[in-house]
């Protein structure tokens, strides 16, 4: 039963990702991507990692994707750029990268298939994660905070509109 659910979720994740990355319209793509992320979150749940599943939904599907939506809305892209993107679907563009990726994929699958599949019936609870997060990984949390600070400062600076003066100089 669980295995069947896993396959269904995996198929959904794959299909949604595939559709998302071949869309022309960014918003459509994002919605498929959210579906894919939800499917992955479900897989996390099946794998006995409920905390990871929740994080995946809240942060990934929630916060990060919403950030994308926000920016796409701000840009108000509409259907501009569609023509250019259509050219990207031309086989001459994707055939070589696809072949390369296919080779990588075959290598990966053949090697992964060799893994011994031991089972280990432990569900890792949020409490355990919390303990190790503030045990051996306490420094990781601290460094992550600095990383977010860097992201914040960088994004704040880059995203800022240019001051009037700069813009005038630019246009003039």
């Amino acid at each position: 039963m669980t295995l069947a659910l896993f396959y269904i979720a995996g198929a959904i994740a794959l299909a949604a990702t595939g559709i998302a990355l071949t869309r022309v319209n960014a918003i459509h793509a994002l919605i498929y991507l959210v579906v894919s992320l939800l499917a992955v979150a479900f897989i996390f749940f099946l794998l006995g990692a409920p905390f990871a599943a929740v994080l995946e939904i809240v942060i990934y599907a929630g916060a990060i994707m919403v950030l994308f939506v926000f920016v796409i809305m701000m840009l108000n892209l509409g259907n501009r750029g569609t023509v250019v993107e259509q050219e990207m679907m031309n086989p001459s563009v994707w055939i070589i990268p696809s072949l390369l990726c296919l080779i990588l994929l075959i290598e990966l699958s053949l090697s992964i298939a060799s893994l011994k599949s031991e089972t280990n019936p432990i569900v890792v609870s949020a409490k355990e994660i919390g303990i190790s997060l503030f045990g051996p990984y306490v420094l990781a949390v601290e460094i992550a905070s600095m990383l977010l600070l860097a992201g914040l400062v960088a994004a704040n600076h880059i995203g800022r509109r240019l001051s009037k003066m700069d813009q005038e100089k630019d246009e003039g």
Binding site: T2, A26, E56, V84, S98, C101, A113, E118, E128, A155
Partner: protein
């Protein structure tokens, strides 16, 4: 529900498929937003592999790496989307080939 009837190799296989899908998107797409999405897919695939392996070993480490990947992804996307905004303002397009002017 017994969580670990799912073989590790299958989880890794799914992760590998997602990873290659993301890589393919990164290589083919020229729109910066889609490139960022492909990046997210790749990072997410790595996260899936970590969580799968973590479940296999019954450890917390893999899930903590997931947490870190989320943090990294968030920060990267924030900066990346900031760049997207500026690029759209300056170049009036999101096509990376148009943005690329330096050569040689």
């Amino acid at each position: 529900m017994n969580p670990l009837i799912i073989p590790l190799s299958h989880v890794l296989m799914l992760a590998a498929l997602l990873f290659t899908a993301g890589l393919l998107g990164l290589l083919i797409r020229r729109n910066v937003i889609f490139i960022l999405m492909s990046l997210e897919v790749m990072l997410n695939a790595a996260a899936l592999a970590f969580v799968g392996a973590s479940a296999h070993w019954g450890q917390t480490d893999g899930q903590i790496i997931l947490l870190l990947i989320l943090t990294i992804a968030a920060a990267e996307v924030a900066v990346g989307l900031g760049l997207v905004l500026q690029i759209q303002r300056r170049f009036k397009t999101l096509d990376l080939d148009v943005v690329s002017r330096m050569r040689g």
